[in-house]
């Protein structure tokens, strides 16, 4: 691997690498993102390696170990090209059969195909599976085409050509202009126009300027940033280098949480490879630009994702926010002008440069352009990572792509925007998802978490969960956030335990208001949203908890009891056998009974009973 000294040399390499590719050659792309690894991808990869060797197929077929394909519910996912056949829930034992039947004899293995949850039909090709069919994977689509540890793979699909173009044809101002016109807004939560941020930083005075990738991703259940870094690290790095060129920065950082070992490993590999080719370092592609990137590892504090806390943490200080009376674009890291963007924001940059701002700004809604990756989790059939154009409705995401609610239960609400987001009820399912519309609905885009909830989710419990999360993650610097959250948490705890009293909701509302108005940073200022939005749409549920001491969703343990219906119980003894507390007694073929003093309300008896005889109320 020799250093590329000019854009010409890069173009030559690009031609060489694309020329080497034979699109007709069969390839097997095994998803080895963290989700699929948890489901056994490493074993599947090993089996493929072993079998390919044993069957002497290495000339005939290419094995590609890739990052996340998004369809995490169905891992381990294996994609066979050129046909585009998708096998799901693949186990190492399936591997010899895949090679023998499908690769050698073009035979489809029915068992491994995806079965449509609605029609029950088996679907052969990835592109026809509803989960993929309704997506528009601008950013995430390359994940299944490349080995993330190979810079050549990335170059062969057009990687670094945006950088080459910028360096050879565009002035820094022109780059800022393109990003401005594209309408790209930050994907880290705030939705701030990226071009504006770059422009302010460009204009700010400073001997040195910094560009930073925010890969702190602390929202529970969100993992799109991790999956981009794991699956396509160079796309983020290329975006960062272009940003550095635009604002004339010589030093970049990636702030990545300690809990993301694979992302860190792949990004480190990417940095090394980029240095060898000369995309980083001195005189990049002969353009005179100097730039390099350092890695800063976070300890996994949620608040360290906040811009000023993140910069304090990089400097080696305690990660706590400061008042933002001057902006980080003017005085950020080490008091110098700094551009901080989210992983997904950076990954959009090369796409915009390659395809043009006109093209990009056609996608999405009037004020939110492009696509957004959501992590669709909770009570939905197809959990995974989903990329759709802004403006796609919640219904399309949850029902068309997500395949609807698990076990045919009823949809109740979807929580969007991470811990400081809010819930959106069924009546708003046709809401087109963009920055403004979600905010109007009392929630927010946040970084793209989407937790689907069904009739068995209690909204008070949901609010309590997020308030408790934020209580634990508050840095504790300012009074309203630190003290307000602990008070909210205590009151919500009382309500879920049957100790709610009149005036609780009013006090919670007052605390929410004060936290929103007076907190130092956005963590405290948005910490009341989970409470406020559940109250807005599910006030009656709160009232039933407080006044009638009931939990309609049967979640709050202090408010429910388990009993056995004498008419339905057949005395099969199964519940008694399964009960971990020995709380159920009864003779064979006689009515069973639950000892309330021993019952911990775990629900195992409900699942065990084949006659629906256990009543929860």
């Amino acid at each position: 691997m020799a250093k590329l000294k000019s854009v010409k040399e890069f173009e030559k390499l690009h031609k060489q690498l694309t020329g080497k590719k034979n699109p007709k050659k069969p390839s097997i792309a095994v998803c080895a993102g963290t989700g699929c690894v948890a489901l056994g991808a490493t074993g599947v990869v090993d089996a493929f390696k072993k079998e390919i060797k044993r069957m002497k197929l290495s000339e005939k077929v290419e094995l590609l170990i890739t990052g996340c394909h998004g369809f995490c519910e169905r891992g381990v996912v294996v994609l066979l090209r050129p046909e585009g056949i998708l096998y799901q829930r693949v186990k190492p034992a399936d591997v010899p059969e895949i090679l023998e039947k499908t690769i050698l004899n073009n035979e489809i293995i029915e068992r491994l195909l995806y079965e449509d949850t609605v029609t029950g039909k088996k679907i052969v090709h990835e592109k026809d599976i509803p989960f993929y069919k309704h997506q528009d994977r601008l950013i995430f689509g390359s994940n299944n085409q490349i080995n993330p540890t190979s810079i050549d793979d990335y170059i062969s699909i057009g990687g670094y050509s945006a950088l080459a173009r910028v360096l050879s044809d565009m002035k820094p101002e022109a780059v800022v202009d393109v990003i401005n016109k594209s309408g790209l807004r930050g994907r880290g939560g705030g939705g701030f126009p990226t071009g504006k941020k770059w422009e302010y930083c460009r204009r700010a005075e400073g001997d040195i300027k910094y560009v930073i990738i925010n890969a702190d991703e602390g929202d529970p259940g969100a993992y799109m940033d991790r999956s981009i870094l794991e699956g396509n690290p160079h796309s983020v790095l290329e975006g960062l280098i272009i940003g550095a060129y635009a604002v004339e920065s010589t030093e970049g950082y990636i702030y990545v949480r300690q809990e993301y070992p694979l992302a860190l490993e792949h990004f480190t590999t990417a940095l090394d490879a980029a240095r060898k080719y000369g995309f980083l370092g001195k005189n990049i592609l002969g353009s005179g630009m100097n730039f390099d990137v350092k890695i800063a590892r976070g300890g996994g504090a949620f608040v360290c994702g906040e811009s000023t806390a993140l910069m304090a943490s990089i400097e080696g200080r305690v990660g706590e926010p400061r008042a933002k009376h001057f902006h980080t674009v003017e005085r950020g890291l080490h008091e110098s002008p700094t551009v901080l963007n989210n992983v997904e924001t950076w990954a959009n940059v090369p796409v915009i440069i390659n395809k043009g701002w006109e093209w990009f700004s056609e996608i999405g809604t009037d004020r939110s352009k492009g696509t957004k990756i959501f992590s669709l989790v909770g009570k939905v059939n197809n959990t995974g990572l989903v990329e759709v154009p802004m403006g796609t409705t919640l219904r399309q995401i949850i029902f068309d792509i997500g395949g609807g609610i698990q076990n045919n239960k009823k949809f109740k609400a979807v929580q969007t925007g991470g811990p400081s987001g809010g819930v959106v009820p069924e009546s708003l399912l046709d809401l087109p998802v963009d920055f403004e519309r979600l905010t109007e609905a009392g929630s927010m885009m946040g970084s793209g978490g989407m937790i689907v909830m069904d009739e068995n989710n209690c909204m008070v419990d949901v609010a309590k969960y997020f308030v408790d999360f934020l209580k634990d993650e508050s840095c504790g610097k300012c009074t309203p956030c630190r003290e307000g959250l602990i008070q909210m948490s205590e009151i919500l705890k009382d309500i879920t335990e049957g100790n709610g009293k009149e005036g609780d909701l009013e006090l919670l509302e007052e605390l929410s208001w004060v936290m929103t108005e007076t907190s130092l940073c956005a963590l405290g200022a948005s910490a009341a949203f989970p409470f406020l939005s559940t109250l807005r749409y599910f006030r009656d549920e709160y009232e039933v908890h407080i006044k009638e001491k009931r939990c309609p969703a049967h979640v709050c343990k202090a408010l429910i009891t388990y009993t056995i219906n004498a008419k339905k119980c057949t005395g099969c003894t199964l519940c008694a056998l399964k009960c971990p507390q020995d709380a159920i007694s009864g003779e064979k073929k006689a009515l069973h009974e639950i000892d309330q003093s021993k019952c911990i309300k775990c629900g195992i008896c409900v699942d065990a009973c084949k006659f629906d005889a256990v009543i929860v109320d």
């Binding site: 305690v318 009376h325 300012c478 009074t479 006090l507």
Partner: protein
């Protein structure tokens, strides 16, 4: 020089001052617990919130960290300011009902009792004046914040007896709630 309006009166002051500084110099009362004129502003207690009527960041802002600028219009006594301040007092009182200085300050603003009860009572309101005094005046850095959220506390590294503390007492001197006591060593 900067021209701006505070509580309907026009002021012309030097560049770089905070709203709180100008207010205190001119006898405009704003309560605060984490501010000291000789230490860096920290913006933690949130008692000094004022309302920016016209300016770059309208709404409630901490006056100890917000710098005055041309054309800024500020009020210290709007309903919004008063109501939020009352609740911030209540939150602090719930935490530190035994702190005399806090109770006295709260009384001055008409708050005598908190509706909120809290079990972990103490005197420290985590204003951080002691930490800054130790770092900026005594230049020892013997104490700092440890832990986060409601667990947050001021302490020495690893809660061990500090080898670098010189016993100057600056921390106890600036503490607004009397939470730090000085003991004679043998």
């Amino acid at each position: 020089m900067v021209k701006f309006t505070l509580n309907d009166r026009d002021y012309e002051v030097e560049d770089g001052k905070t709203i709180l500084e100008v207010a205190l110099e001119n006898g405009v009362k704003i309560p605060t617990l984490c501010y000291h004129k000789d230490l860096t502003s920290y913006g933690a207690c949130r008692l000094c919130m004022v309302e920016i009527i016209d300016g770059a960041r309208p709404g409630l802002q901490a006056s100890c960290t917000y710098k005055v600028s041309d054309g800024l219009v500020v009020k210290t006594d709007t309903e919004r300011v008063k109501k939020t301040r009352d609740i911030v007092f209540e939150l602090l009182l719930a935490r530190c009902p035994d702190s005399e200085k806090l109770t006295k300050l709260a009384e001055e603003y008409g708050i005598t009792k908190s509706r909120i009860e809290w079990k972990d009572k103490g005197k420290c309101i985590l204003c951080g004046l002691c930490v800054r005094a130790c770092a900026e005046v005594s230049q020892r850095n013997a104490i700092n914040f440890a832990f986060r959220g409601i667990e947050r506390q001021v302490n020495t590294p690893f809660k061990r007896i500090s080898q670098i503390c010189i016993g100057c007492g600056a921390c106890a001197y600036v503490c607004p709630t009397g939470a730090i006591e000085i003991e004679e060593a043998d």
